[in-house]
């Protein structure tokens, strides 16, 4: 269903207590710091596009994200990442995440990491190509700078080697 000039209610799906807590640390003021900016250098139809999700998706052939340690240490989140190759389907994946219902993603990967949809757009020439590798990490990272070294840098380096022009991030 579509509406014209909609303003998204960011807290619509949160229970009232959780919404109040999130609002208490977000506040009302706009961000004051420097925001990185890379202009799109060519039309999307010529771009190599990659995707990342924080949903804790892994291939069944890979080790799952570590939920057990988080259960013991509630402020710790798994700081690794997984490569999800293009062509991956719902049948190929496992999903481990303690903050969402993972069953929907297991039924259809496209609701979180729209692999088949992007392959369609590639065939139709809407995007240049979908990158060879897409990625998943574990979205719960509570004040972790170590995560930048263990996941973000290696993902960015691999994207650079694969000639990625634009990245879509799908937070869980």
């Amino acid at each position: 269903m579509e509406q014209e000039q909609k303003v998204v209610d960011p807290y619509r799906f949160l229970p009232p207590g959780l919404a109040a807590w999130v609002r208490s640390f977000i506040g009302e003021e706009d961000y004051k710091g420097q925001i990185p900016w890379t202009p799109l250098k060519k039309p999307l139809s010529q771009c190599t596009v990659s995707m990342i999700t924080s949903a804790g998706i892994s291939l069944k052939s890979d080790p799952p994200f570590d939920m057990e340690r988080e259960k013991r240490e509630p402020l710790w989140g798994d700081r690794s990442y997984r490569v999800i190759p293009r062509g991956t389907t719902s049948q190929d994946i496992d999903v481990n995440h303690l903050h969402i219902n993972t069953n929907w993603i297991k039924q259809d990967i496209n609701v979180m990491l729209p692999m088949q949809r992007m392959e369609e757009f590639e065939k139709e020439g809407v995007i240049g190509r979908l990158s060879t590798s897409c990625y998943s990490f574990y979205g719960f990272q509570w004040q972790s700078t170590e995560f930048l070294d263990t996941a973000i840098s290696p993902m960015a380096e691999k994207m650079g080697r694969e000639g990625v022009d634009a990245v879509l991030l799908f937070p869980a």
């Binding site: 009232p16 959780l18 640390f25 903050h99 219902n101 979180m112």
Partner: protein
């Protein structure tokens, strides 16, 4: 660029391009097996990617989830360790907001 329900996170981290979407957590692109709906969302995401003119832009996508929030079943089967850990803070935040609303009404 980011497709995110809680677009207000932009206020604390500064995100280059945000497509805000009113979809439940864990299904930002749409409903399962809804190929056409998922495509519509992604085509709007592409519009943001190509159309944003500078850092920090937030575009609100024109989609509304067809179910009431309580029926979306997006939450995990058990309370997450983080929520359990901060439960007192969460209750306190709720109490303070309710108090503030009461005063202003």
């Amino acid at each position: 660029m980011v497709l995110n329900p809680i677009w207000t996170f932009h206020r604390i981290v500064g995100i280059p391009r945000t497509a805000a979407i009113e979809h439940p957590f864990g299904r930002p692109v749409g409903q399962i097996h809804d190929r056409e709906g998922q495509r519509k969302v992604l085509l709007k995401v592409f519009e943001v990617l190509e159309g944003a003119k500078g850092p920090g832009e937030v575009w609100h996508l024109p989609f509304t989830w067809p179910e009431e929030p309580k029926k979306t079943d997006w939450q995990p089967p058990e309370m997450s360790p983080l929520i359990r850990y901060y439960l007192d803070q969460i209750k306190e935040a709720r109490r303070k907001e309710a108090e503030k609303q009461e005063k202003s009404s």
